[in-house]
Symmetry: C2
Subunit: 443 residues, 2 copies
Amino acid sequence: MPFRAALAAALPPHRIVDDPDVIAAYSNDQAAWAPAGKAALLVRPADAEEVRRVVELCFVHRVPVVARGAGTGLSGGANAVDECVVLSLEGMNRVLEIDTAEQLAVVQPGVVNDDLRAAVAEHGLWYPPDPASSPWSTLGGNAATNAGGVCCLKYGVTRDYVLGLQVVTGEGKLVRLGRRTRKGVAGYDLTALMIGSEGTLGVITELTVRLLPLPRKPHTIVGAFGSLVAAGEAVAEVARRGLTPDALELVDRYCLQAVDEWKNMGLADLGDVLLLARSSTEEAAIQDAFDAAGAVFSTYSTDEEEAEALFAARRLAYPALERLGPVLTEDVCVPRALVPEMLARIERHGQAHGVHVANIAHAGDGNLHPLIIAEDPAKAQIVFDLIIDDCLDLGGTVTGEHGVGLLKMRGMHTELGQDVLAMHRAVKAALDPAGILNPGKVI
Amino acid sequence: MPFRAALAAALPPHRIVDDPDVIAAYSNDQAAWAPAGKAALLVRPADAEEVRRVVELCFVHRVPVVARGAGTGLSGGANAVDECVVLSLEGMNRVLEIDTAEQLAVVQPGVVNDDLRAAVAEHGLWYPPDPASSPWSTLGGNAATNAGGVCCLKYGVTRDYVLGLQVVTGEGKLVRLGRRTRKGVAGYDLTALMIGSEGTLGVITELTVRLLPLPRKPHTIVGAFGSLVAAGEAVAEVARRGLTPDALELVDRYCLQAVDEWKNMGLADLGDVLLLARSSTEEAAIQDAFDAAGAVFSTYSTDEEEAEALFAARRLAYPALERLGPVLTEDVCVPRALVPEMLARIERHGQAHGVHVANIAHAGDGNLHPLIIAEDPAKAQIVFDLIIDDCLDLGGTVTGEHGVGLLKMRGMHTELGQDVLAMHRAVKAALDPAGILNPGKVI
């Protein structure tokens, strides 16, 4: 039986979408700069068994399969490849279980990050990883990309919260990896191997995630600085003093102005570059570090509304800039003490090539997101590549949290080197012997 | 050139040990019950390049290589296999770097856990994973087994602290995995894959570990209970109330008496079963949960000396019991709410088969260590296997922190199932194509 007919026989008919317009809408993520292929079909499975059947048929017929959640990725990892099946998991969106004693939740991959937070908050629990896309992005996508966020500085990234996965393998087998218990070392950590593998080693059909008790609201510390590099110095000073804020975010003038133009918040009046920190215990010490590094203004408050507004502005920075035109989003991570040096280099590259570069950053992690305003795509690409080279030069990594996808393949190859890439290829071949899972991504 | 001659040509002569008595002393870990093969040679490399040369020659000549640290493992993971090279990494014991701003340390694999703690404490920093073997066990061994400990309840296990590794692959290549930055998603998480793989996927030659600021001393909460199951109920009650102690340990009468006999501490006068908890914020609430579950005595104190003595007793329990004869050490992990049920089953199995079972436990994690006093090895093995079956029946895992090694292979096979085992074998073949790395362990 040909593939299309076999698929029709294996699934209820309304699961399969042939409409080219709908397929096209599901064929790329938010990385405007990454190329997308022309998918053959869109499939919207309703449960893990349907996912298994699709992948098994793709394995038998050697058809590529690209899994996706909400498509909020920024590296092209979920972009279609030619003649593939796009497998949209957004319909599998049920929270299956919240276990308050064990502090875990079991969810389908299409559950939206903020929906899980809201569900567990009713039980006094908290799921920490909070990518800026949390109102839209799904847990499956968060796990596939090992998403980070604002809270990661203190609380860690997605990988730190996934205890176990149900996965469909490259040969169409439905398996359980990991565990429900707090600890466990039975066998290789294939759960961690799947996290961040961007759908190239398996398709996630269920997640068991660890939860924490809802923390008390921390204080918010604000510092305004006269330049990017001054703000970077404050980040390095916080690190040098051994301070550990829960979050430490940077937003520059471009971003503040873009948010102001959209939401009329008057943020740019505060200063050229803002640092926003959260802490329950070190607010005075963090303010002191900001001041020592040359803050033109600093304060801290427990006014929740004011604090929420500032962090909301941080979240709005990316969509606000996107309103103004195509944005090429960088995502590099450097040692924290080198944040000022990296910010200085980014600024120089922008100036040298006549390209506007806005900056938001999970600065406390050393995770910078230069946003390259792409008036001239060729120039933007040059600056993008120079930033990658510089982050490697400073001992950093080419992607802190957005993933490799298509945009960071060159950088990752340089970072890892041939021997480690060969290990990646061997692992990929071991778990996806037919090479059908999101081919051409990551490696 | 034959293997022995090639090895002699590749290393300074005193690195290679042929003395059968010395080789025998390096041919097993602390799992008295696990069989050990007869090694051909012991090699004590001085640096990563020497490790690389040894493994490369083993690859070319198809000679098995078993890497080991201090040999404190409890599952036979470091036991020699016939005709192997035992590769002792204990001589590679230098702390290479402590970076206070980035809060990380770079160490050789033979650095002893407590030595790293002492070195970083001078900088106000802390390496949390604290297996009971911390005065002797090495960071390389801790990583190879993904060691846990008392602090893991709040602070996580070894895997949560290893940012990057230098590893010699199964083909004798020296590679770097992971990163120095706080975050990073460039490629598959091969670092996590190596952690807990017990030397079957690579030989660790350097570790970059994340550090935390030294925390303030917490309070110690003590509860004494009339039975194992009552203490287990208190653990479940702590979980049900959403309390999050830093540590929550259980020590039963057998262990208390064994420590008393050795160190004359008078612990058994406190009660039949002790729970020891640590917390900086919830000491009254934890004591209340202990009382509600029927504690016959409870208190909390900040008397550091008294608290240290109690936790020292917990650490001494295993060596104290070992003094009295061979001990078959279990290591299972169950959901926390099922700790009383699991403890009741363990007690019943011991009684039914006329075998003494002592219990220590990282109870707050659900990680139990029944210690089977092996008067009759055959009976002890029956109880060992029954406990494994029960932990799986309760949704647990057959090894919480000691690793699979030799003792847990049967249990792990049951836990994982054929399809997941096939994934393990594929990954093993991908990264160790000649099958020379610690063959016959884990899978």
